[in-house]
Assembly symmetry: C2
Homo-oligomer: 345 residues x 2
């Protein structure tokens, strides 16, 4: 009876070649303690020779573990996430996990779809940058006992981990810095209104104004999309029509994202005004290349790499079942003084 090589080498086939049962092969491959050392060695050698690789779908189906982590982001285009993604991938690599990467494009519906995909794919955990802190989608995660870490927002639910970079502190620090440089009228370029980050950012801004008894002005608080283009276009509009900001002579601009700050740089090139002489600009995130802009962008650094590392750490620990307590980590951003803010004398 000849046993020809099947299209794909599997445990059954190895078993046949080795003259043992499939279970023995399975045990050998998994380095099960219930396995004779000699047979194990023999089987491993055969597997190697046959270029065997496991079918992880079958394995996952049976064992309920996939060694896969889902990463669901809001905006893959934002360089803010690059460092985090890289950090996640590096960590996962060390422990032989893989990453499924998704983008929700700030849409609740897509986020929902992405979460369900993760569930369907049987990932062991997810790292989620939620569209909204109150998102119903987070409930889906909790109800399905999916291990998860939220980044970028403090979720409105108790039973979930998060690693948060405190946006409120970020804008507070930035605003205070502007005030100390004698800026009284600060234009706040915030993200979209419904974004949790925007709310936190506004809070810190108002808090700082209050501390220094500066009356906030609604006309100076703007909500726009987070992109270079959006920042540039919006600023050009303001530049041309000061009514948009209630005819207030603001001297500085605080941006929720470095992308917006770069947008203002772009506008400055096109319109010919000077940063920081005409307008001081301060960003947030400290994304790639901001230090090489001219002038180098003063911004608030977000510890993006740590966000990725901690998230994976938390996830892995909980997957291993070592630690079931929910982790709430609050990371502090720090001001990076560079050249885009002018001291008013």
């Amino acid at each position: 009876m000849s046993s020809k090589k099947p299209k794909k080498v599997n445990i059954k086939y190895i078993a046949k070649i080795a003259g043992v049962s499939p279970s023995t092969v399975s045990r050998a491959l998994r380095d099960d303690p219930n396995a004779n050392k000699e047979t194990k060695k023999r089987i491993l050698k055969i597997a190697e020779e046959l270029d065997y690789y496991p079918n992880l779908l079958a394995k996952g189906l049976r064992s309920k573990r996939t060694k896969t982590i889902g990463v669901i982001l809001n905006d893959l285009k934002n360089p803010l996430y690059y460092d985090t993604i890289k950090a996640i991938e590096d960590k996962l690599n060390e422990v032989d996990y893989t990453m499924i990467l998704c983008d929700s494009n700030y849409s609740q519906e897509m986020e929902r779809k992405n979460i369900i995909t993760m569930l369907s794919k049987g990932v062991d955990g997810v790292i989620l940058s939620p569209v909204n802190a109150k998102s119903e989608n987070i409930k889906i995660i909790i109800e399905n006992n999916l291990k998860a870490v939220c980044i970028d927002a403090v979720p409105n639910y108790k039973n979930i981990n998060y690693v948060y970079v405190n946006h409120e502190i970020a804008s507070f620090v930035a605003t205070e810095y502007l005030i100390k440089n004698k800026h009284q009228h600060i234009l706040l370029l915030n993200g979209p209104y419904q974004l949790s980050s925007s709310k936190a950012f506004l809070k810190g801004y108002l808090k700082a104004l209050k501390k220094y008894s500066i009356k906030p002005n609604r006309a100076l608080i703007k909500y726009i999309d987070l992109s270079i283009e959006s920042g540039c276009e919006f600023f050009k509009k303001i530049y041309q029509d000061r009514k948009i900001v209630g005819n207030i002579n603001f001297t500085s601009i605080l941006c929720l994202s470095d992308l917006l700050a770069i947008g203002i740089y772009k506008a400055s090139h096109e319109l010919g005004f000077s940063i920081p002489n005409n307008y001081s600009v301060i960003g947030y995130d400290n994304i790639f290349a901001t230090e090489y802009l001219s002038p180098p962008l003063t911004t608030v650094h977000a510890p993006k790499i740590r966000v990725g590392k901690y998230s994976v750490d938390i996830l892995l620990e909980q997957i291993e079942g070592k630690d079931t307590e929910f982790k709430k980590i609050d990371l502090e951003p720090r001001l990076v003084e560079r050249g885009s803010v002018k001291k008013i004398s």
Copy 2:
């Protein structure tokens, strides 16, 4: 006989509730033509109410299709890839595919591991930025009939698709531009020696020199790691010790990657020389933010978004079985004139 809800809702359970067989449910869910419209509607409604989501592991195991694409890159840290990743993700989203993202860190061994993981996970196809065009790893892909598109290098195998941005043309165009601006001594900051891209890039550089009868000088051809730091450090060394470049008074620098170019910008800040007055710099890729540097970086634009789109298009077509012919796409980069190259008079 009561039928209690299991931990996870599955087809069997829905079948029980609906009073039909599992196969009927399966057909309904898959929108199989062999399914009564009424029952289908009923089943869909029940599935919805029960918050059913499919087990994609089981589905994939059985049907040999996972609606998953693997993306294996060399260097997740390089911003070059993010436009491509975003484009891939967007396209995949449209057709309900998911992406597994891996980083090989320029290591053949990790690349091999990543490819085998993809095989194990049963992905329907991969997009690979190979460590090396001759990589044995590509053979693994071919032997296993894994549908694949190489990006970033023309693989040394016939039976594989690729979408290539022609690095040779890129460096040729850039070098020619420098020459036309009267630069005779051009320092080439290439990537690591074993990298296919480096080889192609060198070729174009030499070709352009030849065309204008400029004798190439080995001392002006350098191989270094692709990062801002590496570019900066290396240039600082040269600056301090001109012997490294054979004491040649080069006037311009051509970089395989914008990262290296930014490294030189960094060095210029630290050492206090001027771009382009002391040295002209030209990069490659046209990555994020290069246009906002000061001076704006003259570079060669790589159509990164198209790389992603085309790759997915090819993969999907071949997965659907519509087109089995191997696609070899050669994309032309184009020069983007900005401010980092000076015309020598």
